[in-house]
Symmetry: none
């Protein structure tokens, strides 16, 4: 795999030449097929520098669809089974992209709206200001165990779930690459903040990220900063030259420990029985629910024991017995059951956390056991 390099050529062809199932995530910013008419002027009569490059011209919708199906199909084969893809577009092409993604078997996870902080106004006053672009995030298939760093996204948003509408400025000012004449090097350079969020959401450090329409290499630059491996593909020498220089000047600046995000789901599993084995809870201890409406006794084997209405007993895991007490389909026993700590009641999750901290300090003695029991 040609990691951390730019390949020159047709992206479908090059993707077909790489080993199948070898890429964790693909970010694609394909031609939008804008179909612009004549020139557009601002109210002050200055001319709008539109995207009229040859690579954005297609003779018909069918030509665009064929082109799209070709590269998306190659992209799908390149992804690992649990990989995912991001594509970005506007109303000119996003419906074609979305339809073909679905037809090829991709499973759409979200459509994301990039709300532009500073869009170009509609100078003619004939439509609404086109103030957003759309990203589609899709897994390779319905069965994929795609990666989503939920906790990182929540943390980025001050502990509130990240929504499907993102408000970010355009790429302007110093971030915008210029060519030797001081003109913008690429007509549609995307802001790094957009890629930062995409990479943070759906990849891990060390993952391989491919961008088939690399342009000025925003994906590569952000991937390098965030210690993801990247592969870029483009057909234009001028873009490859600009991207190469840009990425060479970019440092992998973020430390490993800073790149880590914690997810409860990925923490070490602690069976309830370990609390008893290690004396954090004694057999016979009485647990209650938060409202003190139900009680259960701790059995020596890690089961809980409750008395039933008919004078019998019931036993089961902390989760099963919590669900039964509430008449609910499921229950997180760790947060439901509380133990007595002096005059207060604490969730048994506190004991789990305590044990987890201890185990982390002594990885040599307990690590193997913990790992094998996971």
């Amino acid at each position: 795999m040609p990691l951390n390099t730019i390949q020159k050529g047709d992206c479908a062809e090059i993707m077909r030449s790489l080993p199948k199932g070898s890429v964790d995530m693909i970010f694609a910013d394909p031609p939008y097929n804008l179909q612009l008419g004549g020139e557009l002027h601002r109210p002050d009569n200055s001319k709008v520098d539109a995207c009229d490059d040859h690579w954005d011209q297609f003779s018909s919708l069918k030509t665009y669809d064929d082109f799209t199906r070709e590269w998306l199909s190659a992209a799908r084969d390149l992804l690992t089974d649990d990989g995912s893809i991001w594509v970005i577009g506007s109303y000119h092409n996003i419906f074609r992209l979305g339809t073909i993604l679905q037809d090829l078997g991709f499973w759409v996870l979200n459509d994301i709206v990039w709300r532009k902080a500073n869009p170009m106004p509609n100078f003619r006053g004939r439509r609404f200001t086109n103030a957003h672009e759309t990203l589609i995030w899709a897994a390779k298939s319905e069965k994929s165990k795609y990666r989503f760093n939920y906790d990182a996204m929540k943390a980025l948003n001050e502990d509130v779930q990240m929504r499907s509408d993102w408000f970010l400025p355009l790429c302007t000012g110093g971030e915008r690459l210029k060519d030797d004449n001081g003109e913008k090097a690429h007509p549609t350079q995307k802001p790094e903040a957009l890629l930062y969020r995409v990479l943070m959401a759906s990849t891990l450090p060390g993952d391989t990220v491919l961008d088939p329409f690399f342009g000025t290499g925003t994906t590569g630059a952000v991937a390098k900063k965030m210690k993801r491996n990247w592969i870029g593909i483009d057909r234009e020498d001028s873009y490859i030259k600009a991207a190469t220089k840009r990425i060479a000047e970019t440092k992998a600046e973020i430390d490993n420990d800073l790149l880590q995000t914690v997810s409860k789901r990925e923490e070490q599993r602690i069976p309830f029985g370990w609390l008893i084995e290690r004396g954090l809870l004694k057999p016979g201890a009485v647990l209650t629910d938060p409202k003190h409406e139900h009680t259960a006794k701790v059995g020596a084997d890690g089961n809980l024991i409750t008395d039933t209405a008919d004078g019998g007993q019931q036993r089961g895991s902390i989760h099963r017995m919590g669900a039964a007490a509430q008449g609910a389909p499921s229950c997180n026993g760790w947060t439901y059951w509380h133990y007595r700590d002096g005059k207060n009641y604490q969730p048994i999750d506190n004991l789990r956390q305590k044990l987890r901290t201890e185990l982390a300090k002594r990885p040599d003695t307990t690590g193997t056991e913990a790992r094998t029991l996971q």
Copy 2:
């Protein structure tokens, strides 16, 4: 023309029976083809009342496409040459709708994002909160002299061009129609404010507006208020009954309350993570408290990271880590934590203020940032 009545039956069939070129605008809220799996429960174990009605079930994407092509084709013939159509959908169906619209010769004018003020969260934490729906506004053809009430839209928006992202609350409370059992009469009733803006943008009083998926008749009720003629089509007796009653009780008067967009909040919320995404702070930057007694490092996800006495690490939001450092129950992390600016230390609140000023320069007037600029 059966103006201001509801027709019962298949919408494509009924549209074919009406005179061609006789309708000025069509608003369509077709089935979304959600393809839901099993049941979904909230964290409190209550069940989500999903949209699982028979009319939303299609056996395949092809079946859905055939259905869509059929009614959109009939709709196109029904429009005047200068007429336009609005369709609404989610990522499940909007790409199919958009592709078929384009294939039939409709000319897309805008895609509009309805950002929901109060969407349902993602309960499992597996994706981004699906916080918007998409509307497509299209003219009958590229040559259409479609109607767009530019000045009305600008006036609605405090004299700034209306953007393509609209921030509106869901239809809840008193506006939501209930059946005889007190249950919601329709699973997906749209808010009147949404229809108000659509009608205000693209029709004139006296115009004829048709809704082929009439449901509880929101389109008819708002059209009546705004003195547009309306035609509704639906297949379900229960919806027709509810819509008939609703429109009979609606008066043909323009309700000024509807004119208002959701009021702006005083200040927009800036998550700490935005400073990192936008490069105002780098991951790894060291923050200190005003007395330089505590330090914390900035994580890539917007959490702060501190070293604990026992050699471990702790992470959390700026507020939580500020509280922990002081042993206080709460803390305003924005004023507590300081970053190094040359030789001086400045509260990170300065960076927030800087970003806020930048954002304020480009006010998102359409819609109120509320808590969710995102």
